[in-house]
């Protein structure tokens, strides 16, 4: 007899249970009839014959029971009946069941979703061989404070001289103009040296990576394509390898294609890679720190050891090349930290929120289950005295707990799946690797495990109590005496929930405040009707910078002719667009040593830029057409620079020495542009005319009468018509730019607000649960008080007061906790103080209000009790 057929027999026995019961009854009845008839044949009286038959059988019900046992499905049958009983018993208290299931679903759902995201973004290592050995290397100097940059020449020398690092590679983004059959197009390109791909352990899917022979201005031009570029633009054509494409009006040979999905961290957007085409021997290139540099440590070395060795190399380079490397230091950090670095604080805050919500959820479940269990103590005492074993009671409660936890977890997982999808859709582009996020198995196990544990633990409490011997006192005492037990614990749980909830709410409140501050940015010029786009002149078509500037002027004239364009201007960067370039300077004639010169941001501009933006002139004049290469070198400074460095008089007429860029005359002072972040202070800024210091690329700004977004097509065709070799990209209104800056704070706010809302709901459920239970426990007493003349107001006041006590204690703890914990959020708050009194008071008052409502609902019910009825309640 195999195990299988026996199992099948048992299963069919379970499924045919009702049939079998009927059949069993028939069988026994037949037996008794036949036996009775046999007895009659021996001459017995009919009644005696039947009695004898029953005696010899040994009792109908007992036989039936033994046959049922013999079917071997007894435990399953009991389980089915336990589940039925649990469903019925929970169904009698739908409010309780809903509160527990909702709490579990919210807690499990929110936590699994957020933990999955954290796991995907932060905790998971980078997808490269031995990612722990990848180190971001930055050259250090006050002029590049806050940036991680290095020159590609220094990167080569560091790599060649280091023993601690296997390889050091450098690269950077570098837009190209790709010329195809449909015309020129600006594509996201990048420059890489021969080491960069090897550092990451990236090999090509087709062809080869770069070699040292590909580097420098004299090498034959070659490119490596991203897999996406190869697929979408070139139809995955394998013959492209060795063939040519035209970038920057130059034929370049395709020597390699990267594998699908492989991206260089920090340069994920690059579609076409070129070897660095610049001269390694040119001193200016050694001083051009515009590259991103990554090293791969030798196995077994710590980052500290590796960086310490590089510092000595950097110091040696400083002595060999004092002009470009003197005074420059070096630092390094794990690449993983740098890749997730910006999001790390926010993610830590979210992680804290996850823990808080989980704790609140568990406290709530514990509270609800304890309230229920105390209420049921008498039921259990009755069951015990009727003969139910302690084991049976435990099993009953266990089944109830599993049922609650199961339904809660199921809903929670649905919520989590939805939450992760929403999170990915909502996430700002800045969060790295967010596209790799999916629901995490460990997270599910963790949250479901925690919630189930809390449910079972607190669900079993009454069974443990019921197994105590003093059944009689449990049966005899009225409900109000029984409920005393655990009341203190439950008030403490409520206080704890409120405290945790308040901290989350304060955090969300602070983020909300910060968001409003940031969104209300008033830069000092009109934000509306302003658009910017980036233009780049093809390398091959323009011989000199002056030709490029002339082309820009032509474009400006063409665009100004459009009826809806009020003014145009060009600049290398500006508010919310372009990069950050700094230069060391001093007021001419001041005794500042070259190594200690202050640093200012600088932009080059055409004469139209400042008026088009609407940045007010405070003194002197704007640039004019005459400020060109033939004119004297001039500059405009902002208010901050003028006030700080020309404190005793007008900056206009003063002269400024620029490091390695000669001396300029200050011809004007303009108002500061208010920085986007409310906590940032305006920096000293210097502007000079693009005509005096040319470059091949610039931002255009257009001031329009109507909606600037609608102009994009017209602008593109006009630019293509007058300057076909100038590409246009990044067309964006100032409002869109502001919107993109707000994506990240809005995202942080939304996530924390969700957590806070969940916490608030849970805490309200918790308070309500306790008060409602208190009221039902004291129904008798309330009735008595009413009979003795207490009015409704007094009853309400007393019940609410009792409920508010733990809530207020929780609020006090929560405020203290907020002050301690929200400091960790400082970097996300854009200058709003973590102890912002307005936020603290508003949030605490709001929370107190909700707590009062949660108390008031059951209090009102208590006050509405009819005294006589209430006193009859036992």
């Amino acid at each position: 007899m195999s195990v299988w057929s026996e199992a099948r027999e048992r299963l069919s026995a379970l499924l045919r249970r009702d049939d079998m019961e009927a059949s069993l009854a028939d069988e026994i009845r037949l037996h008794i009839e036949l036996e009775t008839e046999a007895n009659l044949r021996t001459g017995m009286e009919p009644a005696a014959a039947r009695r004898e038959a029953l005696r010899r059988l040994g009792g109908v019900e007992r036989v039936k029971e033994e046959v049922r046992d013999a079917r071997g499905i007894r435990p399953l049958e009991d389980l089915v009946s336990d589940v039925r009983f649990a469903v019925r018993s929970l169904g009698r208290t739908p409010g309780f069941a809903a509160a527990v299931v909702l709490t579990l679903a919210l807690g499990i759902g929110a936590n699994t979703a957020i933990f999955s995201v954290l796991n995907g973004v932060v905790l998971r290592p980078l997808d490269f061989p031995d990612p722990d050995r990848l180190v971001e290397i930055c050259e250090e100097h006050e002029s590049v404070a806050g940036f991680c940059v290095a020159s590609f020449v220094n990167a080569r020398d560091l790599g060649a001289r280091s023993n601690a690092f296997e390889r050091i590679g450098a690269g950077r983004g570098w837009p190209f103009i790709l010329r195809g059959t449909e015309g020129a197009e600006s594509v996201r390109g990048g420059l890489a040296d021969a080491e960069l791909f090897h550092v990451f352990g990236i090999s090509t899917a087709l062809g080869r990576t770069f070699t040292a022979a590909d580097l420098g201005p004299d090498a034959a031009p070659v490119v490596i394509l991203s897999n996406a570029m190869w697929q979408t633009r070139f139809g995955s054509d394998p013959d492209l390898l060795g063939g040519g494409i035209t970038i920057d009006d130059q034929r370049a040979t395709v020597v390699g294609v990267l594998p699908p999905g492989v991206k260089v961290p920090g340069l994920e957007a690059v579609q076409i890679w070129r070897p660095i085409p610049f001269d390694y021997a040119d001193p200016a290139n050694r001083g051009w720190r515009g590259f991103w540099t990554i090293g791969r440590l030798r196995p077994g070395l710590s980052i500290e050891e590796g960086v310490a060795e590089l510092r000595t190399v950097a110091a040696a380079l400083g002595e060999e090349y004092p002009d470009t490397n003197g005074g420059w230091g070096l630092r390094g950090m794990p690449l993983h930290d740098s890749v997730v670095g910006g999001s790390r604080r926010a993610i830590n805050v979210f992680m804290g929120a996850v823990v808080f919500v989980l704790l609140i959820g568990c406290a709530n479940v514990a509270n609800l289950l304890m309230a229920r269990s105390v209420r049921r103590e008498r039921e259990f005492a009755v069951r015990r005295s009727l003969g139910a074993g302690a084991g049976r009671l435990v099993r009953m409660l266990l089944v109830e707990g599993v049922l609650l936890a199961g339904v809660g977890a199921g809903l929670g997982l649905l919520l989590a799946a939805w939450g992760v999808r929403t999170f990915v859709a909502l996430a700002p582009a800045g969060i790295p690797r967010v596209d790799e996020v999916s629901i995490d198995g460990a997270a599910i196990l963790f949250t479901v495990g925690a919630a189930a544990l809390a449910t079972l633990l607190f669900g079993l409490l009454p069974a443990i109590r019921a197994s105590r011997p003093d059944l009689v006192s449990s049966l005899r005492t009225g409900p109000e005496r029984r409920g005393r037990m655990g009341l203190g614990t439950r008030a403490a749980l409520v206080a704890g929930e409120v405290a945790l909830g308040l901290v989350l709410l304060v955090g969300a409140g602070l983020l909300g405040r910060a968001f409003l501050d940031v969104a209300a940015w008033e830069p000092g010029f009109e934000r509306e009707h302003l658009v910017t786009f980036w233009t780049l002149a093809s390398d091959g078509k323009y011989e000199t910078g002056q030709q490029v500037v002339a082309a820009f002027e032509q474009i400006s004239a063409e665009l100004r002719a459009l009826p809806s364009v009020v003014a145009t201007g060009t600049a290398s960067a500006g508010p919310l667009f372009g990069g950050r370039e700094t230069i060391a300077f001093r007021v001419a004639g001041s005794p500042v040593e070259p190594g200690r010169m202050p640093v200012a941001r600088w932009y080059d501009q055409d004469p139209g830029f400042l008026p088009a933006m609407g940045i007010p002139l405070l003194e002197g004049r704007y640039f004019e057409a005459a400020d060109d290469s033939a004119g004297a070198p001039v500059a405009i400074v902002n208010r901050t620079l003028a006030e700080r460095f020309f404190p005793n008089g007008s900056a206009v007429g003063g002269r400024i020495d620029l490091e390695r860029r000669g001396t300029v005359d200050v011809i004007g002072v303009v108002e500061d542009v208010k920085p986007f972040r409310p906590d940032a202070v305006p920096e000293p800024e210097i502007y000079w005319p693009i005509a005096q210091r040319t470059r091949f690329a610039s931002f255009f700004v257009l001031r329009t009468t109507g909606d600037p977004a609608a102009l994009e097509r017209v602008v593109r065709t006009r630019v293509a018509a007058v300057a076909p070799d100038v590409s246009v990209s990044g067309y964006r209104t100032m409002e869109e730019a502001v919107g993109q800056e707000l994506v990240s704070p809005r995202f942080n706010l939304v996530v924390l607000a969700i957590f806070a809302a969940v916490a608030l709901c849970l805490a309200a459920i918790g308070i309500y649960g306790v008060i409602a239970y208190n009221v039902s426990r004291r129904t008798h007493e309330i009735g008595l008080r009413k009979a003795l003349g207490a009015d409704r107001g007094q009853i309400v006041a007393q019940v609410v007061g009792q409920g508010l006590k733990p809530a207020l204690a929780g609020l006090a703890f929560g405020l203290a906790g907020s002050v301690a914990l929200t400091r960790l959020m400082t970097g996300m708050l854009y200058g709003v103080k973590p102890t912002d009194p307005l936020t603290l008071i508003t949030v605490a008052a709001g929370f107190a209000l909700i707590a009062s409502v949660a108390c008031w609902i059951p209090a009102r019910r208590a006050a509405a009790l009819e005294p006589m009825e209430a006193m009859r309640v036992e």
Partner: protein, 110 residues
């Protein structure tokens, strides 16, 4: 009541039921009376313990049950030996003879 005792009884009852059904299919009451007559009233066991034993043997797959009509036109549940039951009976009977033979020899010594 000791557990070993019950096992012994149960095992013996199983053997007797299987052997009885090897003669012909029978319903519960017939089995009870067959055992009583053949054993010459030695086994006047509780008839009630027969039905759980039958249920257990069905579960093990050694016998199968089927509702049929008796000679007197009554519906009764008839039990019949399966192929597995035949094999089981052979094994149990051999085992029984071995054990009872051994017990006999022990009793007859001295």
């Amino acid at each position: 009541m000791g557990r070993k005792n019950a096992d012994l009884l149960q095992g013996t009852l199983d053997l007797i039921v299987l052997r009885s059904l090897a003669i012909q299919p029978m319903h519960g009451w017939q089995i009870a009376h067959h055992i009583q007559q053949v054993s010459e009233d030695v086994f006047r066991v509780n008839q009630g313990s027969l039905y759980p034993a039958l249920q257990r043997l069905v579960r093990k797959g050694w016998i199968r049950a089927e509702w049929k009509v008796t000679e007197n036109n009554r519906r009764a549940r008839y039990y019949d030996l399966t192929a597995a039951g035949q094999r089981r009976l052979g094994k149990e009977a051999a085992n029984w003879r071995l054990v009872s033979g051994a017990v006999d020899r022990i009793l007859s010594v001295g």
